[in-house]
Structures are given as C-alpha cells and as structure tokens.
C-alpha cells in the first residue's frame, strides 16, 4: 500500500503538471536533447560493439569457443579428421590452396590475394634460399614463370562438419553445405564474397586444381556467404574432397618456408576438454610437439569492451554536458515556478503539509517531467534507429536484425531521473523554506 504522503505527492504533483502544461513542455524540451544524447551514445556504442563483435566472430569464432591451431605435418590432418568424425561439438577446417580456371597458367591473383590488389605484387627475380633447422642452406630452383591466363587462386577450406555454430557466416545467396547427405563426386562448394567477386569479374572455366589432389575437379557452386575474410575462399565438405585427394597432404618444410602447405584450424565447444586432451595425446603420439599446438578460448567481447571503453566515456562525457544544459533549463523553469507558486506552497503548509512533503511534491513534479522526457527520448531513439536501419541497413550487413539495445533505455531512464533530481532539488529546498506567516499576511 502506498503511504498517504506518497499518494498526496503524486496527486498534487500531477495537478501541478496539468496546471502548468506549457512550463512542463518547456522543461521537457530543454531536457529532451540531453536525455536523447545519452540514449544515442549508449545505443550507438552498444550497436557498434555488437557490429564489431559480429565481424570479429566471423573471423575468430564466437565468444567462448576453443580454437586450436595445429601444423599439418606428420599425419595430423588424418588424425584430426578421424577423431572428429561424426561429432557436432567440434569442427576442423583444413586449409589448402586451389586454383579455379585454366590449368597451367599464372592465376590473376597469384598467392590468393584480394582481387583489388591483383597484379600489383611485382615479381621477385632473385634466388630463393632455404635453410633447415641445422643451418644448412640450399638454393631452391626457381619455378618457371607460367603464362598469364584465366584462373584465380583461392584459399580452399575443407570442413569436417558445419562450422556455422562456431563462426556465424552470413548467407548472401544460394545455400550452405549440407553435411547430412551422401558425398557428391562433383564437390559442392560455397564461395565467400571475395571469391564470388573474382569469379564474376574474371570469367574463368569451372575447373579446380587443389594442391595435393590427384585430378582436376569440376565443382558445383551452391552458395555465397559473407565470412569476414578479405581473401578469396571456397568452403567444401572434407569427405567430398577425399574423392579427389585420398590422403590429407602433409605440410613439408619447403611448403612452410613458402608460407603454404596444409593448415589445420580446430573449433571446439566449451566443455570439450576430454576431446581436446584426446586430440593432443594422439598428435603428440604421432610425433608433434606440444609447443606446436595452440589452443585458446575466444574472448573477443572483453578485449573489445576495453577498446571501446575510452571512446564510450568520451562520448558519454559530451552527452552529459548536453544533459547538464537540459538540467539548467529545468532548474530555471523550476525556480521561476516556485516564485510563482509561493502562495500555493504557503497555503499548503498552512493546512498541515510538512516542509519535507512540500519539497517532495516539487521534486515529484520534476521527476515525473524527467521520466516523461526520458520515455519520449527513448521512443525517439528507437524510432530513429528503425529509420536508420531502413535507410542504411543494406549497406552495413552487420547491422541487419539490430534491435534497440535495452541498455540505452536504462541509460535514458537514469538520465531522466538524475536530471529530474538535479533540476528539482534547489526549487524543492526553496519551496520548503517559504515562511507561511510572511506570505499569508502579505
């Protein structure tokens, strides 16, 4: 049950607001921009953080995921493949190089670089020297320069299972790989946007040469995804690749020297420590050193929060200054109103109202005004976000499906309450100090 004092404060506060609609409106106008600034900064930083996090998740994996990096040597790809077979709580990505297009030609983007930089890399014509672990160096025979042709080089990624629970790739067109069906002889591939761009830009023949494969492959392109990578990539099922590359190729010392060879990336759900231990044991048993394996949990949010914190504080500081201007406005209107209502306040005290309750009523009026303003500012912020998403959402895919963050709503309500208290405190104290005898005699 509400106390008599609280009910009285609400009734009289409501009467005061209704009686002075214009003044209340003017107070709200001055406060609106301040609260809206707080809401906008809070919403902006939350949305920016989420958008950045979504982009980071595409590349590094969702927060909490355990990622592992294992060199593709000493039969490691085969061990990983057999260990993870049929599991949904862990997926391995086995990366290799592939060329799509004419065979025996130099790809347009040699080295798998983004097409924007294709042909700008120059040509190093000096000798290539390789030194092994013992310090013995030998000059490598330089490969003959192939003729330019209609082919593109891509990073080919073979998957043991669906990677999307770990890396939320965004579909652009077509469909994603279906791991529930029988493997196809013509491997189904999904391109990333950069690879799709290359295929669209350079009309290359539909033939694919994969490093280590026994034959050329005629793939079926089934979809395009956004994977956050700048480099052209194609994704395929590992079991479909196996038709053409029976044993996973191991990385040789020379491959590693050239920055190529098979790479293994593992994505494990949290709580799969047993699997992690099993994999490590098997790999160590195969001859890999523990130092060559790196497992770590993805913790992008915490890292980004610390990066965004300073930026957020700067913008919140600026928004707080705007809010202070609003508070000055509400304070100004409040003081003028108290001056105007001297007789009313003296009369209320004469009929038995305490100083404290009178101050509470003035404060209740500014608090109600602050809350009302906050509600309007939050509504305006949410509506503004919807309009902005409708207008610019297609340009920024990471913003698609963005909802108004609740944190911005909470910040708006707090800003409204703080402004109400700051703007109403001095008028409330003045109202409580009005001398009844002097006013009623005048």
């Amino acid at each position: 049950m509400l106390s008599g004092k609280f009910r009285s404060a609400l009734v009289i506060g409501g009467q005061g607001i209704r009686a002075r609609k214009l003044r209340t409106f003017l107070s709200m106008v001055s406060l609106f921009l301040g609260v809206l600034a707080i809401v906008a900064v809070q919403a902006g930083s939350e949305i920016a953080e989420r958008a950045m996090l979504t982009d980071v998740e595409l590349q590094s994996g969702k927060d909490g995921t355990i990622t592992g990096y294992v060199p593709g040597e000493k039969g490691a790809p085969g061990i990983v493949e057999s260990t993870l077979k049929g599991r949904t709580d862990a997926v391995a990505m086995i990366g290799s190089r592939a060329i799509i297009g004419e065979p025996g030609v130099r790809p347009i983007n040699e080295g798998g670089m983004p097409f924007e930089y294709a042909g700008r890399g120059g040509d190093y014509s000096g000798p290539m020297v390789y030194c092994d672990a013992n310090g013995t160096c030998t000059e490598q025979k330089k490969e003959e320069r192939k003729p330019d042709g209609q082919a593109i080089e891509v990073n080919m990624v073979a998957l043991t299972g669906d990677i999307r629970p770990f890396k939320p790739f965004r579909p652009v067109s077509g469909s994603w790989l279906d791991f529930g069906t029988a493997p196809s002889l013509a491997p189904r591939i999904v391109l990333n946007e950069e690879a799709a761009k290359g295929l669209k830009q350079y009309r290359v023949p539909g033939e694919m040469m994969i490093d280590g494969a026994t034959h050329h492959v005629s793939p079926q392109i089934i979809g395009v995804v956004q994977d956050g990578s700048m480099q052209p990539r194609v994704y395929m099922r590992l079991d479909e690749l196996r038709t053409w590359m029976p044993a996973a190729a191991s990385t040789t010392e020379v491959d590693r020297f050239r920055g190529g060879g098979t790479q293994l990336e593992l994505y494990l759900q949290p709580g799969t420590d047993d699997l992690q231990q099993l994999l490590k044991a098997k790999l160590v048993g195969a001859g890999l050193s523990k130092d060559q394996m790196h497992f770590q949990a993805v913790n992008s949010k915490e890292r980004m929060e610390s990066e965004l914190k300073i930026m957020r504080l700067i913008f919140l500081g600026m928004a707080f200054l705007v809010l202070l201007i609003g508070v000055a406005g509400i304070l100004n209107v409040g003081l003028a109103t108290v001056g105007e209502r001297v007789e009313e306040f003296a009369l209320r005290r004469a009929v038995g109202m305490s100083r404290m309750l009178l101050a509470g009523i003035v404060l209740a009026e500014t608090l109600l005004t602050g809350l009302l303003t906050a509600a309007l500012a939050i509504g305006a912020g949410a509506a503004g976000l919807q309009v902005a998403l409708m207008m610019f959402g297609s340009r920024f895919p990471s913003l698609q499906g963005t909802a108004f963050p609740w944190e911005a709503g909470v910040a708006g309500v707090i800003a409204g309450l703080v402004a109400g208290v700051l703007g109403g405190l001095i008028p409330a104290i003045r109202a409580a100090r009005i001398p009844i005898a002097t006013v009623m005699r005048a």
Partner: protein, 236 residues
C-alpha cells in the same frame, strides 16, 4: 457481590488554547522591534473572540503564533493543556492539520482547481489518507455547511468574492477543526457579504469550535462572545 455508586462529577471546561506571557520580537536588518509583549490569551471550546487593533498592533502576528506558523521568543503556549511552545516543525504541521482551520483576508484559492478541489486540498496534505469517495463526501458536507454545495465544480474565477471566501471557509472546516483562526476575512468584501461570512463563521462555534477573529470592523467584532483590543503589542 459489590454495588457501584455513581459519583457526582463537576464539569470544568479546560481551555482549548492558552498563551501565557507571549513575546515576539522582529529581528530584521535594522533595530529589533517588539511586536507582542507579554500577551496572555485564552480560548475555550465554543467561544468566539474578536481581536481588534490598528495596523501594526500585532494582531496578525498573534494569529500566526496561535496557528503555529511562527514561534514566540518568550512565553508559553498550551493546546488542550499540553505545552506546545517548542514543538518541532513536523508535529506543528500535523497539529495545524488536525486542530486549526484558517481563513484569510485574501482567499488564497488555487485558480486551476475547482471549488471542491480547493476544499479537498486540506485533506490531501500528507496527514493520513482517505479514499476518494470519503473525501468527496467530506468536501460536499463542508460546502453545504457554508451554503455553496451547488458551486462545487466552479473554478474560483467564476465565483464572487463572498462565494470565494465561503469556499475558503469550507476548506477551513473540512477537517472539522477545534479552532478557526480568521484574519480579517471580511476585509475584501462588501458589508452585506461580510455579514454573511461572519454569520457562517459564528455558526461553527455552535458545534463547539473556538473562533478567533482578527478584524478592524467593530460591528463584526461586537457579534463575538469576547472582544479584545491589541495596542502596541499588548491587550488593553
């Protein structure tokens, strides 16, 4: 078995309020000025007292002290026999609500409220809470008591001076106070309306309410049970 016998009782009416040796000094920027000096004053239930005096004689100051708007510098104040001279502000507010009804020369009605809402103002003051229906009933009874129940929904700007003062009296009566303090209630009214207002105030004393009327008008003062004159801060 015991038998009880009724004892004869002697009815002694205790004073509603009693002021002993009240002194009030105004301390402003200049020299301190004594407004009231050693004033003694008593009101009994159902008694009406008129206080006459020239401007600046201390009439309104005395009313402020009785109504607990202000505090005396010296002297004692008893209400129903209890010493309330040094009452804290919160309790003074509660007493103002429970014991006193105030009527002023300027009616002090809030323009944005109706007559009924102005009367209800004395009920919505943080001293307890009654349901809307009960409040409405109390307000209508108070308005009927002063003969303007039909004007309950009118705003003050639509009322005559006499009607406005009767709304103010209804506001003073709505909590059924023990003492009505009226500070020149007829000052802004014509003679006929003023007489009507004094009649309304006098009616309240018939129900046991004490009335203290500060006035310049000797005709109105003569209708009271007791007339006292203040001169230079003392009763003659």
């Amino acid at each position: 078995m015991t038998q009880s016998f009724e004892q004869p009782t002697v009815q002694v009416q205790a004073p509603l309020l009693q002021l002993n040796g009240i002194t009030k000094v105004l301390k402003g920027q200049g020299e301190p000025r004594t407004i009231l000096s050693g004033v003694d004053f008593t009101v009994h239930p159902g008694q009406s007292v008129a206080i006459l005096g020239r401007s600046g004689s201390g009439k309104s100051t005395l009313l402020s002290l009785i109504g607990l708007f202000d505090r005396a510098d010296e002297g004692k104040y008893f209400l129903h026999g209890n010493d309330i001279t040094k009452l804290p502000e919160r309790r003074a507010a509660a007493l103002r609500s429970a014991e006193f009804g105030f009527v002023f020369q300027r009616f002090f009605l809030l323009k944005h409220l109706t007559a009924a809402q102005n009367v209800a103002m004395a009920l919505v003051n943080g001293q307890g809470w009654s349901a809307r229906r009960k409040r409405k009933q109390q307000v209508m009874e108070a308005l009927e008591q002063v003969g303007i129940a039909h004007l309950a929904k009118s705003k003050p700007t639509r009322l005559s001076g006499g009607e406005q003062q009767r709304v103010a009296i209804a506001r003073a009566l709505v909590r059924q106070p023990r003492i009505i303090l009226a500070d020149e209630p007829t000052g802004a009214l014509d003679t006929e309306t003023g007489n009507l207002v004094v009649e309304v105030l006098l009616n309240t004393t018939r129900q046991g309410c004490g009335l203290v009327l500060v006035t310049h008008d000797h005709d109105h003062a003569s209708k009271m049970g007791r007339v006292m004159e203040l001169r230079d801060g003392r009763f003659n």
